[in-house]
C-alpha cells in the first residue's frame, strides 16, 4: 500500500473556545483529486493552513509528502503549489511577471521559466494577454492564472481553496474544465476544498465531509451515495394518493417514499425490480407516465450528513 501523500492524526486547532479543526484523522492517497467538502466556516481553510505549516496545531499531528507539518514545514512549502482563498496575484504586474516571480522563488532556471510560462498560458488561452497588467483582467482569467501559478514549478501536490467560489455557473464550469485538463495532464495530486457539490462530483475521486471542524465521513462519491442512501427511482404520473404511498411503504424493497406534486420519489433497498411497484401503483388507481432509475446525488448525501449532525 503506497504511503498517503497527506496524513493527519487527531489534528486539532482551537482559536480560544472555537474548535476550527477538531480531531481530524485523514489519509489522502497520491495521484487523486481529493475534495474537502463543508459549509462556510467548517474548518476547510484552517485545515489547509495547518497542512502547509502556516499554523501550529493545538493537538495532534499531520504529515504532507512524508514531512511533519510542525517541524518540516519549509520542506512541505518547497514542494507544493497553492491557490488559497484569494488568487493572490500582483495586479500591477503582468501575467508573465507573476508567473516568473514564482518560478524564481522555486529556483527554476530562466529558460525553463520562459518555456513553462508559454506552455501554461497557451494551454489556458492567456498567452496573447501575457503582457497585460493582471489588474485589467476578469476574475475568471485571474483565477486561471492563479491555477497556472500553483502548477508552475511542477509540484506533486497542490492545494486549491474554493477555486470557483463566487463565480457564475458558466465561468465556474470553464475554470473547472481547465482545472481538470491541467490536473490530468500534469499528473498532480490535488487537495481541493469546496462547498460546491457539483464541482466535487465532477472532479474528485475521493471526498471528505467536514462540519464545525469535525470530519463526518470520507470515501469516493459513489461509496458515499450507497452508504448514505440506496438506489432511487422516480415515477412521474397522475392519481398518486395516500393509499398509493401506504401500499408502497408496505413493500419490503421500499426504504422510503415521498410524493412531490405529480411524481413519487422512492428510495430502494438494493437493486430491486421496478415492475411489481409499478403494477401496485396502477392497481391503486395511479397512472404512470415515466419511470426513472437513479442514485442519490452528492448533494443528497451532504444534506443527509448535515441533518444527521443537527439531530
Amino acid at each position: 500500500m503506497p504511503e498517503p501523500i497527506i496524513r493527519t492524526e487527531h489534528l486539532s486547532r482551537f482559536f480560544g473556545t472555537v474548535k476550527a479543526v477538531d480531531d481530524l484523522s485523514l489519509e489522502v492517497p497520491a495521484g487523486i483529486v481529493f475534495g474537502f467538502l463543508g459549509p462556510n466556516g467548517a474548518g476547510k481553510t484552517t485545515t489547509i493552513h495547518l497542512l502547509l505549516g502556516l499554523l501550529e496545531p493545538t493537538q495532534g499531528q499531520a504529515s504532507v509528502l512524508g514531512f511533519d507539518t510542525r517541524t518540516q514545514a519549509d520542506e512541505i512549502r518547497a514542494r507544493i503549489g497553492a491557490l488559497l482563498e484569494f488568487a493572490g496575484l500582483y495586479e500591477r504586474m503582468t501575467a508573465e511577471d507573476n508567473l516568473d516571480f514564482y518560478g524564481r522563488i522555486y529556483h527554476m532556471p530562466a529558460a525553463e521559466r520562459r518555456a513553462r510560462i508559454k506552455e501554461l498560458l497557451t494551454h489556458l488561452d492567456l498567452w496573447d494577454r501575457r503582457e497585460d497588467q493582471v489588474g485589467q483582467w476578469s476574475r475568471g482569467m485571474k483565477q486561471k492564472l492563479a491555477v497556472a501559478r500553483a502548477l508552475f514549478h511542477h509540484p506533486p501536490l497542490i492545494f486549491l481553496d474554493e477555486p470557483t467560489a463566487g463565480f457564475d455557473p458558466v465561468a465556474a464550469a470553464t475554470l473547472r474544465n481547465d482545472l481538470a485538463s491541467l490536473v490530468a495532464r500534469e499528473g498532480v495530486t490535488v487537495f481541493l476544498t469546496t462547498h460546491n457539490l457539483t464541482e466535487a462530483e465532477k472532479l474528485c475521486a475521493q471526498v471528505g465531509v467536514i462540519r464545525q471542524g469535525k470530519l463526518l465521513t470520507v470515501g469516493n462519491p459513489d461509496e458515499l451515495r450507497l452508504r448514505k442512501s440506496g438506489p432511487q427511482a422516480e415515477i412521474v404520473g397522475h392519481g398518486f394518493n395516500e393509499q398509493t404511498l401506504a401500499l408502497l411503504r408496505e413493500r419490503p424493497e421500499v426504504a422510503h417514499v415521498e410524493l412531490h406534486n405529480s411524481h413519487l420519489s422512492i428510495e430502494l433497498r438494493g437493486e430491486s425490480e421496478m415492475g411489481p411497484l409499478v403494477s401496485l401503483i396502477v392497481r391503486s388507481g395511479g397512472e404512470v407516465e415515466e419511470v426513472r432509475r437513479g442514485k442519490a446525488s452528492l448533494e443528497d448525501v451532504f444534506l443527509t450528513l448535515m441533518e444527521e449532525e443537527n439531530t
Partner: protein, 237 residues
C-alpha cells in the same frame, strides 16, 4: 541570498516600475525639490552642507518611505497577496529583507541623486567658471551615511507599524504622525543638551553622534521587525 534578490526583483516590478508614468511623478518631484529647488534657493549654503541642508537631505527621502513601506507590507495583506507568498518556499527573512532593501535603496537613491544634482545646480548658480565639490567631503560622506541609516530607521519602524495596521491608509497615517513625533522628539532632545557641550563639538562630530544614535535605533527596530515578521503571526493577523 538569491531569495532576497528575487524579492528585490519583485518589489522593484510591483512597487517602483509598474505604475506607468504616474509612478515616476513622486520620485521626480522629490528629486526636483532636493536636487534643483533647494540648491537654487540656498545657493552656496548648499555646497557647505549647513545643518539645514543636512536635515533636508535626511527628511525628504524619509517622506518617500512612508508611502512605500506601508504599501509593501500592509498593502500585500490588504490585496491578499501575502498569504500566497507565505504558502511558498521563500523564507520570512527573505521577504522582509527584500522589501527593506528596495525601500531603503529607493530613499537613499533619492538622497544621492539629490545631492549630486544639487552639486551641479549650485555650481551653475555660482557662475564663477570653476567647478567645486562640496566644501567638506567628510560632511558629504556623512550625509550619505546618515540618509542610509535614517532610511533604515524609517523602514524598520514602518515594518512594525504596517504589521499592526489593517490597511495601507492606516499604516501611512500612523507613519506620518510617527515621523512628526520623531522629528519633534529629536529637536527637543537636541535642545535638552547643554549648549557648551554642543559648542565643544565640530559639526562633523555632531553628525557622527547622530549616526551612532540612529544606528543603535536601527539595530533595535530591525531586530524587532525580523522577530515580528513570522508566518504564524502574519497568518493570524
Amino acid at each position: 541570498m538569491s531569495d532576497i534578490l528575487t524579492m528585490v526583483w519583485k518589489e522593484s516590478k510591483d512597487s517602483l516600475f509598474q505604475g506607468g508614468r504616474s509612478a515616476l511623478i513622486r520620485p521626480l518631484l522629490l528629486i526636483g525639490i532636493l536636487g534643483i529647488a533647494l540648491p537654487w534657493r540656498l545657493g552656496l549654503q548648499w555646497l557647505a552642507l549647513t545643518p539645514i541642508v543636512m536635515v533636508l537631505v535626511l527628511y525628504i527621502p524619509f517622506i518617500t518611505i512612508i508611502s512605500f513601506v506601508g504599501d509593501a507590507i500592509a498593502g500585500e495583506r490588504e490585496r491578499h497577496t501575502l498569504e500566497t507568498l507565505l504558502a511558498s518556499r521563500i523564507s520570512d527573512r527573505a521577504i522582509l529583507l527584500g522589501k527593506i532593501i528596495v525601500t531603503v535603496g529607493y530613499a537613499w537613491g533619492t538622497a544621492l541623486i539629490g545631492l549630486l544634482l544639487g552639486l551641479i545646480v549650485a555650481n551653475l548658480l555660482k557662475g564663477q567658471g570653476s567647478w567645486e565639490f562640496y566644501t567638506h567631503v567628510d560632511l558629504f560622506l556623512e550625509a550619505l551615511a546618515l540618509s542610509l541609516l535614517a532610511g533604515l530607521l524609517g523602514v524598520s519602524g514602518g515594518v512594525l507599524i504596517s504589521l499592526r495596521s489593517a490597511t495601507v491608509r492606516q499604516a501611512q497615517q500612523i507613519l506620518s504622525v510617527g515621523t512628526l513625533v520623531l522629528v519633534g522628539g529629536g529637536f527637543l532632545a537636541l535642545k535638552a543638551v547643554p549648549a557648551q557641550a554642543i559648542s565643544s563639538l565640530s559639526t562633523s562630530q555632531i553628525w557622527l553622534i547622530a549616526m551612532a544614535v540612529i544606528a543603535v535605533l536601527d539595530a533595535i527596530l530591525l531586530g524587532v521587525s525580523l522577530v515580528s515578521f513570522q508566518r504564524s503571526r502574519l497568518i493570524l493577523s
